[in-house]
Symmetry: C2
Subunit: 555 residues, 2 copies
């Protein structure tokens, strides 16, 4: 019954094992280059052509049958026009039934062969990286290059990471063992078999800003561990992940497997499917990326294995710097990139009223420090070579939020009026910088997703640390930046942040950005604070999706 | 500040690494022999002497200060007399405060050195195995030999397993890495450090039947991962684990560490501490062994990492046998051992009305099959050489439950009247065997902890399998026995059971018993069904107790 995938395994084994090693070394590794020029000439043009061909058409690439209707609600933040792509819509019952049926064949495939099949699916996805980039750009509003990197190679790397770690964990214990216990003169001999039993139907709930990067890790982690997967994307960002799913379905069919092992559960705002899917008895695993209130609901469900990435408030503690201007230039990029719509983007800058000492013995006053941050942010937005990195604002509500944040304190920087170089209707918006007082915990103790930066004036670094630690403990954080040139002090502050499970990026300047978590090396989200309970590349991220069962037979 | 434990590590490293290897090979390994004769001559006598010295006295071996009072409620099931040992009682606030204070020093100890210290604590415990055996016998009611094995070497092996797996997981990723990403002509270089941050105060809630075996795995798993631990034993079985904790406290003090890293939280029925401890905000990890209703409460607590071993209903499917008499003789031992008070003991026997084919072509009728089971159980209880294995009934309620189970169906075996050879007041009770019909799901769908066996008459094996699978899905199971000499059929039934995450023991006869889960090889509880969410030696059992955090610094 089960086919032989050993040839595919032979083809991909080395790549998978290289990835396993990279995860355990945590050294630099990329399965897919994030430089567009590393790919075949003409790829960009072909991607654009595929993009143009799909716009305005029903999405017919999936192998799922029995759609009740077709719907689509995507709007390009660059043109502010509807994409006019409609996706097949399925009932929850149909999706779950088909997932359950597909399980029988998928769980019979040996873990190593599953790994080979899933690796092959990334090779197929690779051919469509450029098309996915355009689809991402015009749903999420990211710049084209960020769309390419995040939704293409970086997402594929994160998926590869899940495949590799699954491959390792699933084969960690031997399939069979002859266990012999000495009993006086004789041995008692028991033949044991160990099996990793998948938990059941897995659900992945995607977000509107990173439709493949945030969905593929959970999707591939559940697949490698033998579970059938249903992906419910955000109705505003379906296309990129729909391409990935379609490729996977065609590959499964080619290999004689059930394409419904992976399904797209597109929905629309008039009939959202997330709650019904999440609460379905057959759904045992849920991966969720999105806001905290729905995330808290997902976490509260009983008898489900849940992985969440919710909102957090990322802070920057400024104590001292080698060169504060370079530090602030680096930070200006971090907050400008995709206009602060990354889960890893900094929001709050804690700067002591006494100002910032620099390595050369000079001192930058508090006012000048704020001025440096403000100027670097403004000049990035106004610099034609850099402004493209801002991309656009995915959701109109995000732009409004930035506007209303001005009432929180003293406006340090009114966002410079900018226009997109290429799309005249693009929903672009530069950062607003608002200064608040250390006493205004309500103001900076909320997530202001989007192009808003708060500067919090503190008495001293000690107060900064205390406030940031409190913020993280109460609201969670995915990243924390620290500028401090006193090594001992930096170590002590890092320890404080680590106690509330926030990772610290110290003295980042130049091309090292706190926003970027590298696959195979950086854990993404620690899982320790309320920003989420999931952690990419933590072995737990794979292990919780299956159950070890040992059967015994008298030898 | 942090002391150097490298000498201790040098002393124990090989042993720890042997254990790591054994877990990954899942081959036979025992760090401690379970044969009393393997220990120093005179050990039994010395243990008995220590036992006699403690009876009637306050337990003064702990290094915990500030007891509010002393209480003790242990009663020997062998003599039905109070032991008269009183333990110091502490307020929850005091326990949690001291645990939190001790954390500072314990988490600074390197994982490998923590492993060495904890291994050393088992060496100290080993010297007291015999005393612990007597303490276990006269609190749990187990036979002396079972008390010795389960509470001594087997419990120490399970603790060693947690130490070893923790040692492996905590050192799985490098402490530091220089990460270099090629960027065109240059490299971007980031110095990364990876730390396993312990989650916080850990609570272990013990049971009355296996005071060390069921508490030590969670206790050592939390300790090796850097968390301070509070152990709240069952008020009726404090002594055995109190000895283990006292040894650990003295060792920690000798090594310049805070003895409060591990604390005993004895309580009494007039003021139980479990709820207050479990709900305390500072308590982040809970290991629980006991009944399902309190276990469900523990599992429902938000923001806690919880490991439970609750009740389950273990079944035996009888389809066919090489020699049914030998199968039933084996099973008679399984249900008789400690009078069915093991979490792994079988309860329900599913026998088809058409009877049982045997390997030699003969056929045993349904009635004769039930008769074999009944006779083997009865003769074990009446055989003076075997009866000792029954031990006594820990809790008088268990004896009553067995009596009232008679009303569930047709009584096949009224428990033979037996007396203990050595203790005339011992609360001994042989098994009751009751026959029920396959339609009586309410009767066999409840856990009847203790000396009760139900025989369920089914239409055929297909019905047996369907009923057992349903039982496991709804109520959970820790073990499942199968007698089936058709290899293909046995494999199919095993797969059905594994789908509801129950491990199968096939055709066990002789000295292989379904009740016994071997350390380093057998997973204990799969964590997949409602019998509990914990699984000893599953890497998850360690990993969920700490959080990986990666800090980054520009190189």
């Amino acid at each position: 019954m089960a086919q032989d995938y050993s040839e595919l395994l032979a083809q991909h084994r080395e790549r998978i094992e290289t990835a396993v090693k990279a995860i355990h070394d945590r050294s630099y590794y990329a399965a897919y280059s994030d430089h567009p020029k590393a790919y075949k000439p003409g790829s960009t043009e072909l991607g654009k052509q595929k993009f143009d061909e799909q716009v305005g058409q029903n999405f017919e690439q999936l192998l799922q049958e029995g759609a009740s209707t077709y719907k689509g609600e995507e709007v390009s933040p660059f043109t502010q026009e509807e994409l006019g792509i409609k996706y097949p819509i399925f009932s929850v019952d149909k999706l779950v039934t088909k997932a359950t049926q597909s399980w029988a064949s998928w769980k019979q495939v040996k873990p190593a062969e599953r790994a080979a099949i899933l690796t092959e699916s990334l090779e197929r996805m690779k051919i469509r990286f450029f098309e996915i980039a355009y689809a991402t750009q015009h749903t999420t509003g990211q710049s084209w290059i960020m769309s390419f990197q995040a939704s293409g190679p970086h997402a594929a790397d994160r998926a590869m990471e899940a495949i590799a770690l699954g491959y390792h964990e699933l084969q960690r214990f031997p399939e069979t063992v002859n266990w012999q216990k000495p009993m006086g003169g004789t041995n008692i001999e028991i033949h044991k078999t160990f099996k990793a039993i998948p938990k059941g139907v897995a659900l992945v709930i995607g977000c509107s800003t990173f439709p493949t990067w945030n969905s593929m890790p959970g999707m591939y982690a559940s697949l490698i561990t033998g579970n059938p997967v249903i992906v419910k994307p955000h109705p505003k960002a379906v296309w990129p992940i729909a391409i990935v799913i379609a490729e996977l379905q065609h590959l499964l069919q080619e290999l004689g497997l059930d394409p419904n092992t992976i399904q797209l559960a597109a929905d629309s705002f008039d009939q959202l499917l997330a709650v019904e899917l999440a609460e379905h008895e057959a759904v045992k695993i849920i991966d969720y990326t999105g806001g905290s209130s729905f995330g808290d609901f997902i976490e509260s469900l009983r008898n489900k294995t849940v992985f969440t990435e919710k909102s957090g408030i990322n802070s920057v503690i400024v104590d001292s710097a080698a060169d504060l201007r370079l530090a602030m230039r680096n930070q200006a990029f971090c907050v400008s990139l995709y206009s602060g719509q990354m889960c890893t983007a900094p929001q709050n800058y804690f700067i002591p009223e006494g100002g910032i000492p620099q390595a050369d013995g000079s001192h930058v006053s508090y006012e000048d420090a704020v001025g440096l941050l403000k100027n670097e942010i403004a000049s990035m937005a106004l610099n034609p070579k850099m402004a493209g990195a801002l991309g656009t604002i995915q959701n109109p509500a995000t732009a409004l939020r930035a506007e209303s944040a001005k009432s929180l304190g003293t406006v340090v920087l009114n966002p410079p009026k900018i226009k997109h170089a290429q799309f005249e209707n693009a929903r672009v918006q530069a950062n607003t910088v608002v200064e608040v007082d250390a006493s205004q915990l309500d103001a900076f103790g909320q997530e202001l997703f989007g192009p808003v930066v708060l500067v919090v004036k503190t008495r001293d670094t000690e107060e900064s640390v205390r406030l940031v630690k409190q913020l993280i403990a109460e609201h969670g954080a995915i990243t924390c930046s620290l500028y401090c040139i006193d090594a001992k002090k930096a170590a002590a502050i890092t320890e404080e942040m680590n106690e509330v499970f926030a990772p610290v990026s110290l003295n980042f300047t130049g091309f090292a950005f706190v926003n970027q978590h590298a696959a195979f090396s950086d854990f993404h989200v620690t899982g320790g604070n309320s920003a989420g309970n999931a952690c990419f590349t933590n072995p737990e991220y794979l292990q919780k999706r299956f159950v070890w069962v040992g059967n015994r037979m008298l030898g």
